[in-house]
């Protein structure tokens, strides 16, 4: 009934990209190329110097199904570097995805995947196994990843119970519950770290807390891959609802978005995905905060584009960062969280600064 004006300019009404915005299609293509480049670099570089020709002959043999070369080269390239680069891509994609979703969930662009306390639970689980596992008890024998995921579920249950007591999963309620429970669990973690038997154990714990992709194996890629893929689909299915949440709960309700249910679903999806990611890689900071932010600045806030672009950008970023972490120092591997913060914080500040100047 409203279509009294003939839609001559129909395309204009679509999601726009004028002057400063990069078209999403171009951005996706660029990121795709960047991801291939980053993965190539990640596989070519390492603490052990191998000529690129040898690296790629190993990969080519494997990809064409020929028998692998004997010796350690195949092990280094095919069993360590390739799965690790792929895991970096998956974890980066997942963090970018969760970051975008959480920022919409609590309607705050400064939210990150760890805001809801899930990672604190995961860290507590992992650290408990590392520290207490050696002295036996019920935790011994439980893998670190499994313990981390159980910890994530425990934190999830606590935050859920706290958030629903107010009835509505409102952003404020979620953030308060998440931050409160997160700090509470982090306190336990610190206590366990202090109780760690010796320096090496403490170092192991700290490394875990700062994030590491060192445990990557081919078989270990299945779970994070499935989680990231399902998470992407689940969030994309709700992309329009996420857009509506940006404008406000009442607006969202008025266009038929079941706001409370959507928030619950988002909370579940982001929690499970965060739990899986932290379980495989530790809590890698800054990616989930920065990546959606950058994507929003460059390509706009429409979640139908923002979610896949954040996933792609996160993948590229983490592959690059992990390569730097592995190769920056000659004899030592840096915790990846250190590098994400060192690169990420200035990049974010630069972008924010540019945005403030513009407006």
């Amino acid at each position: 009934m409203a279509a009294t004006t003939a839609p001559h300019h129909a395309p204009q009404a679509g999601p726009g990209h004028r002057s400063r915005r990069i078209p999403a299609g171009w951005a996706a293509a660029g990121l795709g190329i960047a991801l291939v480049g980053a993965l190539t670099a990640a596989v070519s570089l390492g603490s052990v110097d191998l000529p690129p020709a040898e690296v790629w002959s190993v990969v080519a043999r494997r990809l064409t199904g020929r028998p692998p070369l004997p010796g350690t080269r195949d092990l280094i390239v095919w069993q360590l570097r390739v799965p690790r680069a792929l895991l970096a891509a998956l974890v980066g994609a997942g963090l970018g995805l969760v970051g975008a979703a959480v920022q919409a969930l609590v309607r705050n662009p400064l939210a990150d995947p760890y805001l809801l306390g899930i990672s604190s639970g995961a860290s507590l689980g992992a650290v408990a196994v590392i520290v207490l596992g050696t002295t036996g008890g019920a935790l011994a024998g439980l893998g670190i990843s499994a313990a981390a995921f159980l910890g994530a579920l425990g934190a999830f249950a606590l935050v859920w119970a706290m958030a629903r007591r107010g009835g509505g999963f409102s952003p404020l309620r979620l953030v308060l519950a998440g931050v409160g429970i997160g700090q509470f669990l982090a306190g336990f973690t610190s206590y366990l770290v202090l109780r760690a038997g010796d320096e090496r154990q403490t170092r192991g714990v700290l490394f875990w807390l700062m994030g590491s992709l060192g445990g990557a194996t081919w078989s270990g890629l299945a779970v994070p891959a499935a989680a990231v893929l399902l998470g992407l689909v689940a969030l994309l299915a709700r992309a329009r609802g996420l857009n509506a949440l940006l404008v406000g709960d009442e607006t969202a309700a008025s266009v038929g978005v079941p706001v409370a249910r959507l928030r619950r679903e988002l909370f579940v999806v982001t929690s499970v995905l965060t739990g899986v990611l932290v379980a495989v890689s530790g809590a890698i900071g800054f990616v989930g905060l920065m990546v959606p932010h950058v994507c929003r600045l460059l390509c706009g806030g429409d979640h139908r584009r923002l979610l896949p672009l954040s996933a792609l950008t996160g993948a590229v970023l983490l592959v690059v960062v992990d390569t730097v972490a592995r190769t920056a120092l000659d004899t030592q591997e840096l915790p990846i969280g250190v590098v994400t913060a060192l690169i990420g914080a200035p990049a974010l500040l630069y972008l924010l600064d540019r945005r403030l100047e513009r407006s």
């Binding site: 350690t72 002295t135 320096e199 192991g204 445990g215």
Partner: protein, 359 residues
Amino acid sequence: MRSRVLRGLAAAAALLATTACSTDGGGSGSGPAPEATGAGATAFPVKIADCTGHETAFAGPAARIVTSNGSALEMLLQLGAGDRVIGTGFPPGPGTLPPAIAAQGAKVPVLGETGIAREKLLGSGADTYVDAFGAMDLMGGAGDAPTEAEFTAAGIRHVFLLSTACAATAKGPRTDLAEVEQDIRRLGAVTGTSPKAAELVAAMDARTKAVGTALGGLPADRRPGYFFFDFDAGTKQPVALCNRQVGNAVMALAGARNVFADCDADFRPVGWEDVVARNPDWIQLAVRDRGSEAENTKAYDEAERFLREFPAIKGLAAVQQGHLLRIGSEVTTIAGTRNADTVRRIAAALHPELVGSGS
């Protein structure tokens, strides 16, 4: 003979370490230097110096001793001075101490599960504090260590274990147990148990020299590559045992070549890639003592299962050939008389044709 040359070198190194670390020389004139290990009781006064040149004088034997960790405690127990230890930090875990002294060790009051709190230490009533940590080494949890002035005011003489406290400042790789033996002699001197110290050191010497003789100055190319797999420091990120650590000396004396001998530190987190590239011939499944035979076996099994299942590692020759040594972490890396036994066990496994497995 080669072994004689080696022995000479070791003696020279010991002498160097002695002069470098205890700069007292014969300065006091009246008392024999602690390294004088001749028969007879210690003559007081005794002066000993730490690796920064700071001297501490003892007019008579230490009567009330606090030790900072299990390593110092173990030495004192073996010296027969255990009844004078009135407290310890970082107490040895169950089963960590050799059976002969375990019962006595268990009776020593624990002043701190980790580092001893400042006021507890100062108010302990001790006249001597044996410190295994360097002044700058705060990783052990002793963040609030008293100052030298406070030690003096409390009437506590502050004695360092050179083998651990001075590891970080050591100038070159550690290839023998001279510092460990020197620590035993120094503790013998300040507790008036020099004859026992001499006896312990002689026993260590005898064992390592027997191995040295049997190996007959093994050339570098006949020393198999050896990787100390610190299972409890985490499996995502291997921690390399580097050339400043006591364990490096243990490996060197046992006719092994530490694959991380090029790293100038005590421990350092590296990547699995580095381990694979160094392709060790032997891997020590170094787990920390779990307190019972059954638990230890379980931990060794876990460590071995990890190596046999981690794709990049299971392809290594050491794993395929089952060159996996089940030798605990403490007896290798914690300075003490048992280092010499470990030398012998490793040598017997690596060079069965040269070193008999019997005692």
